[in-house]
Symmetry: C2
Subunit: 313 residues, 2 copies
């Protein structure tokens, strides 16, 4: 058991409020004033969640998106955000970060409400946090996937992962991939549309396979994913190809900020219509069955799971 | 202008929502479901906000109190909290921190709802954040103090500052002072009682004089404080004496987490009754007048302001 797991288990003892959802969901959800309030806080740490030489404006942007993506997964529209900012000692850097943060907040309609600014001692890694609060009529959890439901994913996967390889200088590829890594988009409109239709929903931040396993665990089911159906973008295919290896790369890369959801088969038409309404492509990539854990197939034939299912941090 | 001020000015450009209160208040306040929602996020950084050898449980406790004190200042009762935790690499340390955090959340009736746990790279200062959300019928800002209003403070001042000297090994003194530094109490019940009566309210986290100056600035008034009336505890007097120097120490020491508020003279009886009802002593320590900035007096005679009004960070 990792130190993080041990620590979270300890915190779980204090998190008996139903709104905490056992600390097993993307966000806290509790009733207030006839609506659900949805609250999330994600931090980004230098050399853990971003590279030291990533453009500061892109880091500010991603800090917003990482949190709004959690709201999207709970069907919420943003009400506002609080930042937790460590001054870097470089005013130009800080200003560019603030530009990117402000641009993302404006783009996704999330007012900045407050926060805290501190200066960390010399030698500390840069670290930033953001709390986002949103409102929803209905907030699907991760634990409702049931035997027979279909598994869906929005957008395409792997673009950000391929973009990270370009950012690191380890590969070359279309600009769209670097943009997917540096300027992701939270699926807010789609999440709000789907919230009433799905049985379980979460965002993919650490990789499809690891996040699908989390959904399977929370729901007490087994999830079987067809790797051939994992949606890949033209830019991704140009850089990484369209084969078993690239599909597994896409299924285990992080930072996608797409939505992963399960829905009963009878909801298929409504789910497809909801996605069409907001103009976001979705793909059915698997099935929920009785059992536990996850499995992958290729053209219906079982495939060994890769050693690493995604990004554990 | 400090880097922090420059950066916050930059953020202020994005914080046009009225709930942000121009980033000039202890917390964000916005209407939801017929109530005010109050949101705050404060971070604690090693060797900035706490000492490396402070007991970890006390740091966890103080992280909760620093945030709940902001809720108290806005008259809110806690609805819940999200933590932002950096694993320290020392499981025992992390566990003790969690114990203190959980103890404070339980003590002050604030459910843990979620958060994020990260591991910062080797060599980084320990850093922890907490977001608290609360609910209030009415949330006084800092900007309502007006000519002729009286200035009040809850509890006693300087105890935590004297306790910090003991924690640093720079002084000796009663255990109550170390306890005031390590295990402060947010004035939640008092804040809720006073919210309907006061014209301006904030918590004293950086020192009476610096915080009073912030209230004066926000309200566009001058605040005159009588140093003889600054309330000192018996333990504080035992350690530091009861004289001009000790009064100025108490008026500039941080970490008090007491409430500073202004109220019209006609509200005096109601204010005193509210404080009696919750069993917290309050003292009238000054007057709001036309003008700007702050001034201090000793027995009605003007006194030079000390060079440092409190803790700027």
């Amino acid at each position: 058991m990792s130190a993080e797991t041990t620590f979270i288990d300890k915190l779980r003892g204090f998190a008996s409020h139903p709104g905490a959802r056992g600390l097993n969901d993307d966000a806290a959800v509790f009733a207030h004033g006839g609506k659900n309030l949805v609250l999330t806080h994600d931090a980004l740490v230098e050399n853990v969640h971003f590279l030291s030489d990533d453009p500061p404006a892109d880091i500010g942007w991603k800090l917003v998106v990482a949190n709004l993506s959690d709201l999207a997964a709970k069907g919420a529209r943003p009400l506002g955000a609080l930042t937790s900012y460590n001054l870097s000692g470089d005013d130009g850097w800080d200003n560019q970060f603030a530009e990117g943060l402000g641009a993302a907040l404006a783009e996704f309609g999330c007012p900045l409400l407050g926060g805290d600014t501190v200066r960390a001692p010399e030698g500390s890694a840069r670290q930033f946090g953001l709390t986002a609060i949103g409102e929803a009529d209905n907030s699907p959890a991760r634990d409702g996937a049931a035997d027979g439901h279909e598994l869906w994913v929005s957008g395409t996967l792997g673009d950000a992962g391929a973009g990270l390889e370009i950012a690191r200088g380890d590969a070359e590829g279309p600009d769209a991939l670097l943009a997917a890594y540096r300027r992701p988009t939270p699926q807010l409109a789609l999440g709000q549309q789907l919230a009433q239709l799905v049985s379980a929903m979460m965002d993919i931040s650490d990789g499809l396979l690891i996040d699908a396993r989390r959904m399977a665990e929370a729901s007490g089911v087994r999830i079987v994913i067809e790797t051939i159906d994992v949606p890949l973008s033209p830019a991704f295919v140009e850089a990484k190809g369209d084969n078993r290896q690239s599909a597994l790369f896409a299924a285990t890369a992080g930072d996608d900020y797409e939505l992963l959801f399960a829905a009963p088969k009878r909801a298929r038409r409504q789910v497809e219509t909801a996605a069409e309404d907001v103009g976001v492509p979705i793909h059915c990539i698997g099935l929920v069955v009785a059992g536990e854990g996850i499995a992958i197939e290729e053209g219906g034939r079982p495939l060994d799971l890769p050693e690493t299912l995604g990004w554990e941090h």
